[in-house]
Amino acid sequence: MTMTATRRQFLAAGTAITAGVLVRPATLLAQDDALASLVKAYAGSATPREGRVKLNVAPLVDNGNSVPIEVVVDSPMTATEHVVGIAVFNEKNPQHDVALFVLGPNAGRARVATRIRLATTQKLVAVAKMNDGSCWTHTVEVIVTLAACIED
């Protein structure tokens, strides 16, 4: 009798755990833990969501020493609705930070571009922070054939 009860409890618990694992959002699973924690730290109290921001970078990079990137955010850029900041993080360079940009309502267009270094094939994430506090992300995988030199 007690044996059956324990077995049932065990099965029920197992099912609950499995369901919990399966229900975890795909975005959380897809993103590397290091990147996710960086995005979370930048987002502050907001929950970062995917969308509205586009990180444009060539999927195949010949030279990791200078990789053009562009971040475009879907925002009307008005006084009431605009982007206040954009952050870019990398996964596998010696340092995860790439750049932080501060924009204002007078920017007119939420688009920034620069050139970065990539030490190896890795993921990049762009995070846009809106004036209402919401945060939006876009993660891109980049293949690097010639890495930026870490040693000489």
Binding site: S66, P94, L100, G104, A107, R111, T114, I116, C149, D152
Partner: protein, 129 residues
């Protein structure tokens, strides 16, 4: 050479390229592109002798706008246009592109600050037709 004569370290200004339209319509969105000559030494590399190369980065860039025609009796107030914090992952000779709305004629003041006391300011004027 007399000991009283010393060659002072000459602080060469880094070369910059600032691309900005000379004129714009009132309320127009313009693109500003800036580039500065700088090695952006990461601090993660070694020389051929094996010694670590000291970090030498531009850490910060900021762009302010100073309107020319300020209303009477008010000092021209500069407004923040754009700023960036740069890290070792930014390529040598850092290039940045950003946008702004132009409402009046004035001067954009670009400032770069970095390691080893690096500081440089450049100006770029724009006329609103």
């Amino acid at each position: 050479m007399s000991p009283s004569l010393r060659v002072l370290k000459i602080n060469h200004m880094a070369r910059t390229v600032i691309t900005i339209p000379a004129t714009a319509k009132r309320g127009e969105v313009i693109e500003i592109r800036v580039l500065i000559q700088h090695p952006m030494e990461t601090g993660y590399r070694r020389s051929s002798e094996g010694a670590m190369l000291a970090r030498d980065l531009i850490r910060r860039f900021s762009c302010q706008f100073e309107p020319l025609a300020a209303p009477a009796n008010t000092p021209a107030k500069s407004e923040a246009v754009f700023s960036a914090t740069l890290y070792a992952a930014i390529a040598a000779n850092p290039y940045l592109s950003f946008h702004t709305v132009v409402n009046s004629s004035g001067v954009f003041v670009m400032q770069w600050d970095g390691d080893n006391g690096f500081a440089q300011t450049e100006h770029a004027a724009i006329t609103v037709r």
